[in-house]
């Protein structure tokens, strides 16, 4: 169960190969490789500063890799513009939610659909977002900044859904949430998977993330330390020790 670096055929939805990202001289991500298969929930866990967020930001085009390749649905995307990547069906719900606090709920959701050009479809998806999160529907005209953390997270997820993504990357959706709200968010992840969305989930909360993951990777100081199915990782001694707080 060590980091798998051998070549894989290009069947995965998302394929990251030998990715290296640096901020100036500081290398944040060192030659990591992983893949996400269609329909799966894949978790990326690790402590603060392990490079999880950097990895996501690089995949969605907000950062440029210094080395390596990123393939999405058989196309290389590591030098494609961020807005183009969204248009290709890869949505990113960023760390810290990053909703637009002064815009209303509805405006936030519509911004999620910015890359789309089918107003009628956007309308339908708006309704389905309100179905999934009724609280958003009740407060559609309210500025999003007046929401609680959990509600903001729902909004961030709803917003990411609005681009009708094939793959959705969630960066720490449970951050700062109450246990109840966290449960609610995590069950939404399962719900989204059932609807056919592939999900790449980044979490510090390893327990919650691995429980729902089909496959998981453990990131440590910029390198993949372990990988395996969610169940395997949950019972792995090292993981239990380092991330689940058990002796």
């Amino acid at each position: 169960m060590t980091a798998s670096t051998e070549e894989k055929p290009l069947t995965a939805m998302l394929e990251v190969r030998d990715l290296e990202v640096a901020y100036g001289k500081i290398v944040a991500v060192k030659k990591i490789s992983f893949s996400v298969e269609q329909g799966q929930v894949v978790s990326l866990i690790g402590t603060n500063g392990a490079g999880k967020t950097t990895t996501l930001r690089t995949i969605s085009g907000l950062l440029r890799p210094t080395n390596g390749e990123i393939w999405f649905q058989g196309e290389r995307i590591d030098h494609v513009q961020a807005h183009d990547i969204v248009a290709r069906g890869l949505a990113h719900s960023p760390e810290g939610r990053r909703i637009f606090p002064k815009l209303t709920v509805e405006e936030n959701l519509l911004l999620g659909a910015f890359a789309r050009r089918d107003p009628a479809g956007v309308r339908t998806d708006l309704d389905s977002a309100y179905d999934l999160f009724p609280i958003l529907g009740e407060r559609r005209k309210q500025p999003a900044g007046t929401f609680s953390g959990g509600e903001q997270q729902m909004l961030a997820m709803g917003r990411a859904m609005m681009s009708r993504p094939k793959l959705m990357m969630l960066d720490e959706p449970s951050m700062g949430l109450s246990p109840i709200m966290m449960k609610r968010i995590m069950s939404t992840v399962t719900e989204l998977q059932k609807q056919g969305t592939t999900i790449l989930l980044v979490e510090q909360n390893a327990q919650a993330a691995l429980k729902r993951a089909d496959y998981g990777y453990v990131l440590e100081v910029g390198q993949i330390k372990l990988s395996g199915t969610g169940r395997e990782l949950l019972v792995n001694d090292e993981v239990r020790k380092a991330y689940l707080g058990e002796d």
């Binding site: 969605s60 085009g61 907000l62 513009q81 961020a82 807005h83 990547i85 969204v86 248009a87 949505a91 990113h92 960023p94 990053r98 909703i99 637009f100 606090p101 002064k102 815009l103 209303t104 405006e107 519509l110 911004l111 999620g112 910015f114 890359a115 559609r140 005209k141 309210q142 500025p143 900044g145 007046t146 917003r159 681009s163």
Partner: protein, 571 residues
């Protein structure tokens, strides 16, 4: 406003606090004294302040005092003691009275100062002036002793019949037209300042009573009526000037400035890009129009019709916007401001140096291109006076109407963009660029678009400005002009239409009317901006979003906004 339908009986209103019994009569006496004094002579000297010296024939400033007094009387009657007490359930009469009383006292004091300054001492003040002054002071004292109503109903919730809403809008607009025509007609600075004070006091009083929030609601309910009425007022303004061009030249300058500020409002207010060299785009439009005109000093042989010139000028400006934007829009914030600042100066120096000595002769250098002929479009000559309905409309009125059409177009472009997908993208970029990028917003492309659209509109205005001014020269397009444009936006309210137009009007009108102030103009504007930042950072007219931005800690406001939104939704 007595037609306000009371929805619930006022039975559960708790007993009002005890008023000082003499406060209300004191106010009435004050009002009476102001009115009586205003019918008497204020000044011994009939040659100053448009003649306030004749008994029982009030001059302009005296009529203003009477108007304020009548307004105070209405508010007094709406107090608990008065017969219109029902109205007082909705209007915060006492707050309004305090503003009116204090403001009127200040007004009268200034009148006395003005009389003594203009004609050698207080000796020239006639008894009428003192009577009115005393009345105003009594009114102020009475107003401050009157108690505030404990329970006030929110006027913005009042359901009023549509005709009343529309009537209110019409009355307000008519008052606006009347006051604007009257104030602009005032020749001497004292009268003008006093008139401004009057407008400020009455406006503040109306805001304090809450009447304005009701009017704002009415405006919201009848948006189209409000827009049409505003344009009707603007359209009618030249007809009040009796063919005189003195004020019309100021009005056209205001419109050029306003149209340009609206263009910059797209760049700064919507997309959040700080552009400190915006005047260069106005300049490039003007220079294109000048060089393509039939002026003897024009340097290009091609003389296309004006409609082509307009398009060429606007497109040249837009291309300049793209050229300057494509390398610089990748930087953000302060860097963009510095680069655009530099660009504005480069434009000016380029126009200064393209004189044949240092390159091709395009602009005649510092001399500029004078003698640009008046426009002639479809046989309509903008240079001569026309007489529709027997009213003379001079040269500037012609340009005024053309600019009115332009500004209408700019406003249309602004609202359409603001409410579109693109406008949403701009706002997202302004709020959080990285998040916007993650949402699939083409950040660079949209910024470039904002820059180009803004430049296009400024270039458009520039082509008209060149013909209206009759000359272009580099020194018209200095940095200070860009700074003023920005100041108009900040003062009025970033990202709003009414606010920016108001800011542009104030910044262009005041220096024209207060010429004796010109040396201290910049100082005055500096003080004004500092005061604005301290007391109303969102600008005179605040957009909903900016209000949230500057008062985030203000929970009451957040609730109020929320409440308002819910009410809107419920409809």
């Amino acid at each position: 406003m007595t037609d306000v339908q009371t929805e619930t009986p006022a039975a559960e209103v708790p007993a009002a606090p005890k008023a000082k019994p003499f406060a209300w009569p004191l106010g009435l006496v004050g009002v009476a004294l102001v009115v009586i004094g205003s019918f008497l002579s204020w000044s011994y000297d009939g040659t100053i302040l448009n003649n306030l010296s004749i008994n029982f024939y009030p001059g302009g400033l005296q009529i203003l005092a009477i108007v304020a007094a009548v307004l105070a009387l209405v508010l007094l009657l709406a107090e608990q003691q008065g017969p219109l007490s029902n109205l007082g359930n909705w209007l915060d009469a006492t707050l309004g009275l305090r503003v009116l009383g204090t403001g009127l006292t200040l007004y009268m004091a200034l009148v006395l100062v003005a009389i003594s300054v203009e004609s050698d001492g207080l000796i020239n003040v006639n008894p009428g002036g003192y009577v009115s002054f005393a009345g105003a002071a009594l009114l102020a004292v009475g107003a401050w002793l009157l108690p505030l109503r404990p329970q006030l109903r929110n006027l913005s919730e009042a359901r009023t019949p549509a005709w009343l809403d529309i009537l209110a809008i019409a009355v307000l607009m008519a008052a606006l037209l009347f006051v604007a025509a009257y104030a602009l007609g005032l020749e001497d600075a004292w009268s003008f300042i006093l008139c401004l004070l009057f407008v400020a006091v009455v406006a503040t009083a109306l805001f304090r009573t809450g009447a304005m929030s009701w009017v704002a609601q009415a405006g919201q309910r009848h948006r189209k009526v409000l827009t049409l009425a505003s344009f009707a007022v603007a359209f009618l303004f030249p007809f009040t000037q009796n063919g005189s061009d003195a004020n019309m030249s100021i009005a056209t300058a205001v419109l050029v400035f306003g149209a340009t500020a609206m263009g910059l409002n797209i760049v700064v207010g919507l997309a959040g890009l700080l552009d400190l060299g915006y005047i260069a785009f106005l300049g490039s439009g003007a220079y294109v129009a000048a060089t393509l005109s039939t002026s003897a000093f024009a340097t290009i042989g091609w003389k296309p019709p004006f409609l082509v010139v307009v398009l060429v000028g606007a497109c040249v400006a837009a291309v300049l916007g793209l050229i300057i934007g494509s390398p610089t829009l990748r930087v953000s914030g302060d860097y963009l401001a510095i680069v655009t600042l530099g660009f504005g100066e480069i434009f000016r120096f380029a126009m200064f140096n393209l004189d044949g000595n240092n390159g091709p002769n395009l602009t005649n250098g510092p001399n500029g291109i004078p003698g640009i002929p008046d426009l002639e479009v479809f046989g309509f000559n903008f240079g001569v006076a026309h007489h529709p309905f027997g009213i003379e409309l001079g040269r500037f009125s012609n340009y005024y109407f053309l600019l009115l059409v332009l500004i209408g177009g700019v406003i249309l472009a602004f609202t359409r963009l603001n409410n579109s997908r693109i406008g949403r993208g701009w706002v997202a970029i302004r709020e959080d660029e990285k998040a916007a990028e993650a949402m699939g917003v083409n950040v660079f492309g949209l910024k470039l678009l904002a820059f180009a659209v803004g430049a296009f509109l400024a270039g458009l205005a520039g082509t008209i400005k060149a013909h209206q001014d009759g000359a272009v020269s580099p020194d018209q397009y200095i940095f200070l002009e860009s700074a003023f444009l920005l100041a108009a936006i900040v003062l009025g309210g970033m990202g709003t239409i009414a606010g920016v137009l108001l800011g542009a009007t104030i910044l262009k009108l005041l220096p024209e009317k207060l010429r004796f102030f010109s040396e201290y103009r910049l100082l005055l504007f500096g003080v004004l901006l500092v005061l604005m930042m301290r007391f109303r950072p969102e600008g005179l007219v605040a957009s909903r979003r900016r209000q949230l931005e500057f008062h985030e800690e203000d929970e009451e406001l957040a609730e109020a906004v929320e409440h308002k939104l819910l009410v809107e939704e419920a409809k």
